[in-house]
Symmetry: C2
Subunit: 282 residues, 2 copies
């Protein structure tokens, strides 16, 4: 297949990266996508650097085996942990979610005081702090790990009492610092936007990494002249490492389109045969 018409690979630890896939579908409807969510080993956010790095290389290798023209690491934890190593290793461009989010935050703040929320691993890595300071060293950054947000989103508790209490508890210290911009440094968090906005107040701008990343994908494809031009409609394929039932159920509600075909693969096994679960063929 000619390079331009190859799909974009999107890698995530689970279902959260679908926020990034959805933004690519909306902003670049002509592009095809291969999505891999490592649902057997999700979440990555509380695991060690070594373990996350190993899982990430397995995910990258799987997407490369699917002949993609670019890999988007939709997982903040992976982007924060080992993006440079993945870039060095990969024969195709690799794009993370941190630089786009950091750029939007740095250019959007008036007061020069920015908040960053994410998983334990993302926050501990200080990756957003480094990325924002690479752009503007004078910005004050206040970070906060919010480990309960992902399970709340997965339970569908987006705006009930527990969600508000949790958001208030995590965000009040950031609010007291007077931030005017809050980076949602985890792909699950956009689903909590109304609650987070209500807790932070209307004057704080929420930066959605998924949206910013899709914009960056668009820019990169243009610069590299890698845009798809085939007349045939774009194709979306999905791969997971665990039984796809829950992924399909939550994901279809989320993407507002069928998740089909979907296949189950074992990322620990290189060049494996696929156990097909394409529903059309069942």
């Amino acid at each position: 297949m000619e390079m331009n018409n190859k799909p974009i690979g999107v890698f995530d630890s689970g279902i959260g990266g679908l926020t990034v896939a959805r933004e690519i579908m909306e902003q670049l409807p002509q592009e095809s996508i291969v999505y891999f969510g490592d649902t057997a080993r999700v979440p990555y956010g509380s695991k060690s650097r070594e373990t996350v790095t190993r899982f990430a290389f397995e995910g990258l290798n799987f997407l490369l085996s699917q002949d993609v023209k670019m890999v988007v690491v939709a997982c903040n934890t992976v982007s924060a942990t080992c993006l440079e190593e993945l870039k060095k290793y990969s024969p195709v461009p690799v794009l993370g979610v941190i630089e786009p989010g950091a750029r939007a935050a740095a250019s959007g703040t008036y007061t020069g005081t920015v908040g960053v929320i994410g998983t334990e691993r993302t926050i501990k890595s200080q990756a957003y702090v480094k990325a924002i300071h690479d752009i503007n060293r004078d910005i004050n950054i206040y970070s906060k790990a919010c480990p309960l947000f992902v399970p709340l989103v997965e339970e569908g508790w987006l705006d009930n009492e527990a969600a508000f209490y949790t958001a208030r508890t995590y965000l009040t210290p950031l609010k007291k610092e007077g931030i005017d911009t809050l980076v949602l440094a985890c792909t699950h968090y956009p689903l909590l936007k109304p609650t987070l906005q209500a807790v932070m107040g209307e004057n704080v701008r929420l930066v959605d990494s998924a949206y910013e990343t899709a914009k960056e994908v668009s820019r990169m494809l243009k610069v590299m002249k890698l845009e798809r031009y085939e007349a045939a409609p774009s194709v979306y394929r999905y791969f997971v490492s665990d039984d796809p039932t829950k992924f399909i159920e939550v994901g279809e509600r989320f993407l507002q389109r069928p998740i089909d075909p979907i296949n189950v693969i074992d990322p620990e096994v290189p060049c494996q045969g696929l156990k097909s679960k394409g529903r059309k063929s069942e």
Copy 2:
């Protein structure tokens, strides 16, 4: 080593099984323990039957390589998913946490109406329902998956507003059914006992699987004449599959004793060399 003096193996998906280890330490202080927590792949509770079964066999094989006289599957998800397969395969006795909990519930209920709470996978498996009905078919059982309890416990939010709201939301339907006994079918849940008791009221008895399982271990060792009689003090060793920092931090607070020595192993690799992290030697 003579069979009696070999350690008891305790297997869990992560840190939760330490509630079972602690009960064994308290009830059977003369017994040695080898604990394995699969912290790189935790949690199991939301994953598929196939994936959980594969992880469980890898954990069992690791403990067998440590020359244990018995394996306690402290993980409710594993006990609910594939205990019979593990029992058939293992050359030493394998004990799960479900039968002991089910027996305590069946013998403790006056009204014949029992509640069971656990992870999605444990509840979906209906393992407690089957185990309780095997003892007494007339007991009415109401089950409820409580996926937010584990992240709450891991965040240390045991009795704040979010914990109470979550407990009320999950437990109110069970309370309305008039249960007089509530089985805590997840090793993390005993830490929430005061909150759960407050929500359910003093007349509902909470069945703690960890406590009941340790009692069953004691009974089994007596029956099989496998009690340790060596004069030397018992030895506790710990193995995890991810960086042990967080496990040590949370686990020591939890067990009230040092978690040492601890080693990191990769359960996907059979008969591997151990990457030693024993702190004494560092």
